[in-house]
Amino acid sequence: MSKELHTELLRFTTAGSVDDGKSTLIGRLLYDSKSIFQDQYDDIERISAKRGEEGVNLALLTDGLKAEREQGITIDVAYRYFSTPKRKFIIADTPGHIQYTRNMVTGASTANVALMLIDARNGVVEQTRRHAIIASFLQIPHVVVCVNKMDLVDYSEEVFTSIHDQFEAFAAKLDIKDFHFIPISALKGDNVVTRSENTGWYEGPTLMYYLENVHIASDHNFIDCRFPVQHVIRPYNDDFHDYRGYAGRLAGGVFKVGDEVMVLPSGFTSKVARIDTFDGELEEAFPPMSITILLEDDIDVSRGDMIVRVSNSPRVTQDIDAMLCWFDNTKPIQPRGKYTIRHTTQEARCIVKEVKYKLDINSLHRNLGDTQLQMNDMGRVVLRITKPLFVDSYRQNRITGSIILVDEGTNNTVAAGMII
């Protein structure tokens, strides 16, 4: 096997406005890791020149859509890719402005790492706090804070330390497990891929070194066995006459052949007879693998059911407390409103029983009197579901702890929620 085939996949999200140099940083990562092709480079060189800009504007690499190029803003989540011999990276690049909270939440939902940019001249601003709060609620396992534009503050250690302290004081109130600070200049390339000679006082890694080495192997939950059944495979042919396989993607824990398992909601128990894939049978399987499980006993299992260990079951409940982020720009959340809810492979209907409070996503203040969740607002809600869901708290498992709400009239996804 070639060396590339040991590479891990790391997903990270960035948020920030045009001014803090986010697009330049991403352009720099792509450029310095040689992930930009010559024709792409020629393309932005031509456009930069046409606009009368000095030098090549690396930010143009990430501004994809026509509307964005015209207005010079990023309006949606854009995905970028680059790889090094150690890792393949997927960047969810989102705009950081307040009206784009929903995009930040979307990008954060699958990220291993949140990359935050702070302009060294401005320090921690409202947008930094908002992004950190979202990273905390979305339980992004690792946060790396890049203090950018160090070249404009003469690479001052004092400035860096002061921002470091400001951020730490604020982040102490949040639920972020692991964070790290790096002084950089995206424009000049200091500490992005190569170590800077201008920051002799800084002893930590470059951003690229950090991204290549941060420990992500424990980001999945390998303790609590959760297998949401996605699809039942029944070949109906002579070679596989009695084959009845439960296909899905593991959401938690390690399943082994012979394990005693329970099927929810029926509560029937059985044993794992086989773990099947196109490439042959497996002895054990773990997240995020897509597999097919066959049970020893012929019991009725269908899409939306969940296979778990007998001794370790999720909550089976029709009532959910969740932190919701509202996405719909046409109307706010309707108290007593009915929505379609999606959770793992289940779909059901739900009613909003109560909006407990709206969260000020700049200060974490709970607005108890305010129950009007508009687009980009976050708030705590109580939902009643038409049938039991099998849930864990989002803190415990990001897959079995997350939901979306769908408007039954427009079919749009109107909210995302983290189960408390």
């Binding site: 085939l5 010559q38 854009a78 970028r80 939902s109 899905g248 894939t277 995020p288 693998m289």
Partner: protein, 300 residues
């Protein structure tokens, strides 16, 4: 304890999850099969996702009549090997009926005409989810594409009104008459595709490997010599060792000087190349936002 899968296995798992989700959320999905490596990969992943059952949906090939003959031969073998169902939509039919008009001039291509036949076939087959092999690394307009991409009743894409996609939760609900485009290999890069095809030893059309062919040069791009492309007086045909990096119509698919005869050679070439694979596609070069404009109308 080290539970860990490499990036190719993780991408594979993600794509299989999407394919199974499509079968669960839609009534009548179809794979848009172009004959290129991405649609071959997608078909192969579909075979894996439903094993040991057969792929529970057909392939749809929009045949412009300008395909490389190798593409058609490969398609038919693939269909036979995995017991797939194939639906073919002929662009020539739409031209004969006067529903679309062929482009004229030396750069004429049927690429744009495919949109009509594609939407027509989707409507005739009542397909509500059309699976495409589009990847986000291919082109700037595709970087913002969703896995589940909603299309209105005219088949149009509205980049400003896309549904957010979070975690593993995909929303495929729609009104009658609307459909979805679904892109299971969104997160793969060209290099990922080649590495995976090599590791899995997936058979590919010979066009991808270096071979001798009569070619000529136009606007800095090499094109295969065919009677389908009228040549300008100063364009000379010569023989060259080439291969295709993408496979589309003969009229608009640039070929590359290459000595890569195996998948491993191709990986080495892709890893060091300085041009994107669509850099040879005349259809993208028409304007800065050529792909975005075509996507809005319902292109793949």
């Amino acid at each position: 304890m080290n539970y860990h899968i490499n990036h190719l296995r993780e991408l594979e798992s993600e794509s299989i999850f999407i394919l199974r989700e499509v079968v669960s959320q839609f009534e009548n999905p179809v794979i848009m099969f172009s004959g290129g490596k991405d649609s071959i990969l997608m078909t192969y992943l579909a075979v894996k996702a439903f094993y040991p059952a057969k792929v529970p949906f057909p392939l749809l090939h929009v045949d412009t009549g300008h395909n490389f003959p190798e593409t058609i031969e490969f398609r038919d073998n693939l269909v036979a090997k995995y017991g797939l169902r194939l639906v073919v939509g002929l662009v020539q039919d739409a031209i004969d009926k006067g529903l679309v008009t062929e482009e004229k001039g030396v750069n004429a291509s049927r690429n744009g005409l495919q949109i009509y036949t594609l939407l027509d076939e989707l409507e005739k087959g009542k397909f509500d989810a059309a699976l495409g092999g589009g990847r986000r690394d291919e082109e700037k307009a595709r970087a913002k594409e969703r896995f589940f991409s909603h299309r209105d009743e005219f088949g149009q894409w509205d980049p400003k009104n896309q549904r957010p996609e979070l975690w593993n939760l995909f929303n495929g609900r729609k009104q009658i008459g609307e459909h979805f485009r679904v892109f299971p290999i969104s997160n793969w890069t060209e290099l990922d595709v080649w590495q995976y095809l090599a590791e899995e030893k997936v058979p590919l059309p010979n066009l991808y490997f270096a071979h001798k062919r009569n070619v000529f040069e136009r606007d800095g791009v090499l094109l295969a010599d065919t009677e389908l492309i009228p040549k300008k007086p100063d364009e000379e045909v010569f023989e060259e060792m080439i291969r295709c990096r993408t496979i589309g119509d003969m009229t608009c698919t640039g070929v590359w000087r290459s000595k890569a005869e195996t998948v491993e050679d191709i990986i080495a070439e892709v890893a060091t190349t300085r041009l994107t694979e669509r850099g040879g596609r005349a259809d993208d070069k028409r304007s800065e936002t050529a792909m975005e404009d075509r996507k809005k109308q319902g292109y793949f």
